[in-house]
């Protein structure tokens, strides 16, 4: 009995450490978006997400991307890891269980000989949705389809599904189809509320949109003659705003 109880204590520590890391990830997300110093100055160059099938190890965007869950069917059993599966109370995970595992775990455990896992395609990459994308890419709300449509799609190509060429083709065609409209809107929406334009975009498209907007804003300020005006750094401005907020009760 004693070793089993000890195993239980260690198990909760494990889950807690896993949870801590996931909380850290959310902390990173908050850090870069709202609360901390908003560093969109030229001196802060964060690590870009990887292009195509490769991920950048240090890129925060890639880490968030690989947090997405995929439907998995286990091909072999995992002894002593039964606590990971919430639906059953067994001590180990038996062969042939259907679970949802995050991308990083699936990628790590996947082997060519299919001994360990088999990954099922999420429904947005399957036949039905593929025809929708081929019909008209502009209509689809890619943010709702998982905010990392292109990134996750590129990573799915690692799992040797027989439909890989079609998936790759659909990804490419969707991007091409939507690109014209995204580029147009990013280059022409000056000084207006862009939330309606941005809400249906996937993360990759959002990054492109923001860089287009910053280019447009710089060009407009150059035309107005504000380009030679020295400004306080954005850090200082945000810092001062935070200080005032701290002082006010």
């Amino acid at each position: 009995m004693a070793p089993k109880q000890q195993g239980g204590r260690v198990v909760t520590q494990q889950t807690r450490s896993l949870l801590n890391i996931s909380v850290n990830i959310l902390g990173i997300q908050l850090l870069s978006t709202s609360f901390g110093y908003k560093m969109d100055t030229l001196s802060y160059l964060p690590v870009q997400p990887g292009v195509g099938m490769e991920e950048n190890f240090l890129s925060l965007d890639d880490i968030l991307l690989s947090h997405e869950r995929l439907p998995i069917r286990t091909e072999c059993s995992f002894p002593r890891l039964g606590f990971l599966e919430k639906s059953s109370d067994t001590k180990d995970i038996t062969e042939g269980t259907k679970m949802e595992l995050p991308l990083w775990l699936s990628k790590g455990l996947y082997e060519k000989k299919r001994r360990v896992l088999s990954v099922e395609l999420p429904k947005i990459y399957k036949e039905g949705w593929r025809t929708v994308f081929n019909a008209d890419p502009n209509v689809v709300d890619l943010h709702k389809m998982g905010p990392y449509y292109y990134g996750l799609g590129s990573q799915m190509l690692h799992f040797d599904s027989p439909e890989n060429p079609e998936i790759a083709q659909t990804l490419l065609q969707t991007f091409i189809g939507r690109f014209r409209r995204n580029m147009d809107s990013s280059q022409n929406a000056y000084n207006e509320d862009t939330s309606a334009l941005v809400e249906r975009l996937d993360c990759l498209e959002k990054a492109l949109f923001t860089s287009g907007q910053s280019g447009l804003n710089s060009f407009q300020s150059w035309e107005k003659g504000q380009a030679s005006q020295l400004t306080a750094s954005s850090l200082v401005l945000n810092y001062r705003k935070r200080k005032i907020n701290d002082l006010q009760p």
Partner: protein, 161 residues
């Protein structure tokens, strides 16, 4: 992470000793978790370093106390090393005389610029010895290179006519 590692160790020993090869997938899974934790931590620390590096270019060599409060000792050490490397690099440019590359972030249009003071900063001395008192809302016509640092810190404001 230590808990994961210990569990893996016991399993590896058991697998080797008893020949229970079925424990191997669990070992692999825990190993994946360890690698993932390591990746998240290194990415977080690296991002912090990138932001600290940006602070040197935005704020200058001396960081305000609250910012330094949030940095750990190793980060402060890294910052001083980076400052030193940057300074020695700048000294080596410009034919032995040194060139301050943190100045002139935007191409300069004139030698002297019109500035307005946003808050009291006390007295400020320029190259030919005259002392200027920086009071709130006072306007001055000052050489560009002296004011750039203060403008970036938000003390002065560049006024374009």
């Amino acid at each position: 992470m230590e808990a994961l590692y210990e569990q893996n160790q016991t399993d590896v020993n058991e697998a080797k000793a008893d020949g229970r090869a079925e424990l191997i997938p669990s070992i692999k899974l825990r190993h994946c978790c360890l690698l993932r934790n390591q990746r998240c931590l290194t990415a977080y620390l690296y991002d912090r370093l990138l932001r600290i590096r940006a602070l040197r270019w935005e704020y200058g060599s001396v960081l305000p106390a609250n910012v330094r409060f949030h940095m750990c000792a190793e980060e402060v050490q890294w910052f001083t090393h980076y400052k030193k490397s940057l300074a020695s690099f700048m000294r080596s440019l410009g034919g032995g005389e040194g060139l301050d590359i943190t100045q002139d972030m935007k191409p300069p249009k004139s030698l002297y610029i019109e500035v307005r003071c946003l808050k009291d900063h006390g007295e400020f001395e320029i190259d030919d010895g005259t002392v200027i008192l920086l009071k709130k809302n006072s306007q001055h016509f000052l050489p560009r290179w002296k004011c750039e640092q203060l403008i970036r810190q938000g003390v002065l404001e560049h006024v374009m006519s």
